[in-house]
C-alpha cells in the first residue's frame, strides 16, 4: 500500500470532484482485483465496483473525520462485497457461507 499522493490520505469530506477522481485513479486496479477475488466473478466485481464509486461519492459527507480517503474507500468495498455475497447466498439458498467466522 502506498503513501501520501494527493487525495488518498485526505479526509473523504475534503474531497472535491477532482481529488475524488484522482483517488479512484490510484485505487481502481487494486480495488478491482480485491472485488474479483472477494466475489470470484469478474462480472459481479464490475457491478460492485460501480456501486463502490456511487456509494463513496454519496457517503462522502458521512465519513468519519479520522478516516483516510483510501481506507474509507476500502471499507465501502468490503461492505458492498459482503452485501453482494449475502444476496447471492440468499438467492441460492446457501446460508452461513460468509458469516461462519467471527474473529
Amino acid at each position: 500500500m502506498t503513501g501520501s499522493s494527493d487525495g488518498a490520505q485526505r479526509n473523504p469530506c475534503d474531497l472535491d470532484e477532482r481529488a475524488f477522481g484522482a483517488l479512484l485513479d490510484q485505487s481502481r486496479c487494486e480495488l478491482e482485483q480485491f472485488c474479483v477475488l472477494m466475489l470470484g466473478d469478474p462480472l459481479g466485481a464490475e457491478q460492485t465496483m460501480r456501486d463502490v464509486v456511487l456509494t463513496a461519492w454519496r457517503e462522502r459527507p458521512l465519513a468519519p473525520a479520522s478516516s483516510s480517503a483510501r481506507m474509507w474507500l476500502y471499507r465501502i468495498a468490503v461492505r458492498l462485497c459482503f452485501e453482494a455475497l449475502g444476496q447471492r447466498a440468499m438467492s441460492s439458498g446457501a446460508q452461513d457461507r460468509w458469516t461462519g467466522e467471527n474473529p
Binding site: 500500500m1 470532484e17 477522481g21 474479483v36 477475488l37 470470484g40 465496483m49 460501480r50 467466522e101 474473529p103
Partner: protein, 316 residues
C-alpha cells in the same frame, strides 16, 4: 490547467455564450475538454465511455449555462457537471454481457511452479490464477478479505485491522486459518490440461496458420462459426472468419502469427505472437469453443498484456 483565453477573454466568451452564441461556447469549453475526458475516465474506468461522458458534460453545461454564476469558477462548475453525469451513467448502466478477460487455467510451461505460496505472496499478484480465485471462495467471513489484503495485495496487518475494524491479533489468527483452507482447496496436481481431441483440433488449427492455409482453416470452423472481438462487431461464418483472421488479424499471411496451445477460462485457447524482424512480439489470446470437432466460437483478446499472463516470454 492552462487556458488559452485570458481572463477577460474568457469573460467575454462566457457572456457571449450565455447570450446564446454557440460558437463562443465551443471556444470557451474546448480547453477543458481533454481534462474532462480524463476526469470521466477516472470516474468510469473506461476510455470509451469517457469520451461520450465528456461530450454529455458539455451538452449539459450548454443547457445549464444561463444558471452559471459568472463569479464562480467555470472549471469547477464543469467538473461538478461531469461528476454528476458519470454518477448518472454508473447508476443507469445495465450489466452488459461483457467478455471476461482470458484467465489462464495454467500458465504455459509453468506446471512446476507453486500455485500459491504465502511466503511469496507477490508472485501471484499478476496471475490471479483461477485456482486461487476458486480456493478463496471457500473462505468464510473475514478470512476472505484478510487473506486477499495480506497475501495478494500485500497490505500490512495493522492496515488490514484498520480497514476491517478489528485488531491485529484477530487479523493474524484469521490469516492462519485462511491460509490452511486455501492450501487445502488448491489442486495438488496441475490443473486441467487439454483433452486429446481438443489437442488434435488445436494442432490442426495451428498447422493451418503455420502453412497460411485458409481452406484448411475454414474446414476446422463450423459453418456458422463466430469471431467475437469487442468493441468491433462480430464476424460470422466460417469463410468470413478465416478471411478476417488472414487479411486483417494476420495482415495478409496467417504464418505471420505464431500460436501456442493452452487453456483459458476453462476452454481450449491459443496464445498468439506476431513474428517481427526482431523476433516474436506478444499479440493476444484466442479462446475457442469447440463442439463436435469443429470450432464454433473464437473470442479474441487482442492485447499484448494478456500474453504475459500465459507465461510466454515477452521479448522487449
Amino acid at each position: 490547467m492552462s487556458t488559452p483565453e485570458s481572463n477577460s477573454g474568457q469573460s467575454a466568451l462566457l457572456a457571449a455564450a450565455q447570450a446564446g452564441d454557440e460558437r463562443a461556447f465551443r471556444r470557451l469549453v474546448e480547453p477543458y475538454r481533454r481534462a474532462l475526458e480524463v476526469h470521466c475516465y477516472r470516474m468510469l474506468g473506461s476510455a470509451q465511455d469517457a469520451e461520450d461522458l465528456a461530450q454529455e458534460t458539455l451538452l449539459r453545461a450548454w443547457r445549464a449555462l444561463d444558471r452559471f454564476e459568472p463569479r464562480a469558477q467555470f472549471q469547477t462548475w464543469l467538473y461538478r457537471i461531469a461528476t454528476n453525469a458519470c454518477l448518472d451513467e454508473l447508476g443507469r448502466r445495465p450489466r452488459r454481457p461483457e467478455l471476461i478477460d482470458p484467465f489462464p487455467d495454467q500458465p504455459v510451461g509453468a506446471a512446476e511452479a507453486p500455485v500459491y505460496d504465502p511466503a511469496a505472496r507477490y508472485a501471484i499478484r499478476e496471475g490471479m490464477e483461477l485456482a486461487l480465485v476458486r480456493a478463496i471462495q471457500h473462505l468464510p467471513g473475514r478470512q476472505r478479505p484478510v487473506l486477499i489484503f495480506r497475501d495478494v495485495l500485500g497490505w500490512s496487518a495493522p492496515e488490514v485491522a484498520e480497514v476491517l475494524d478489528t485488531t491485529v491479533a484477530a487479523v493474524n489468527s484469521a490469516l492462519q486459518r485462511a491460509r490452511a483452507t486455501v492450501e487445502e482447496h488448491l489442486p495438488s496436481s496441475p490443473p486441467a490440461t487439454l483433452e486429446p481431441d481438443e489437442r488434435r483440433l488445436l494442432d490442426r488449427y495451428i498447422d493451418a496458420f503455420e502453412r497460411d492455409d485458409v481452406d484448411g482453416l475454414v474446414a476446422l470452423l463450423r459453418e456458422d462459426a463466430m469471431l467475437r472481438m469487442p468493441p468491433q462487431p462480430s464476424v460470422i461464418g466460417a469463410v468470413a472468419v478465416a478471411r478476417f483472421l488472414r487479411e486483417t488479424a494476420a495482415r495478409g499471411d496467417l504464418s505471420h502469427i505464431r500460436l501456442t496451445p493452452t487453456r483459458a477460462n476453462g476452454r481450449p485457447a491459443v496464445v498468439a505472437q506476431r513474428r517481427t524482424p526482431d523476433g516474436l512480439a506478444p499479440h493476444g489470446v484466442l479462446v475457442l469453443e469447440i463442439s463436435d470437432g469443429a470450432v464454433v466460437t473464437i473470442d479474441a483478446f487482442i492485447d499484448p498484456s494478456h500474453v504475459a499472463r500465459f507465461g510466454l516470454p515477452d521479448p522487449a
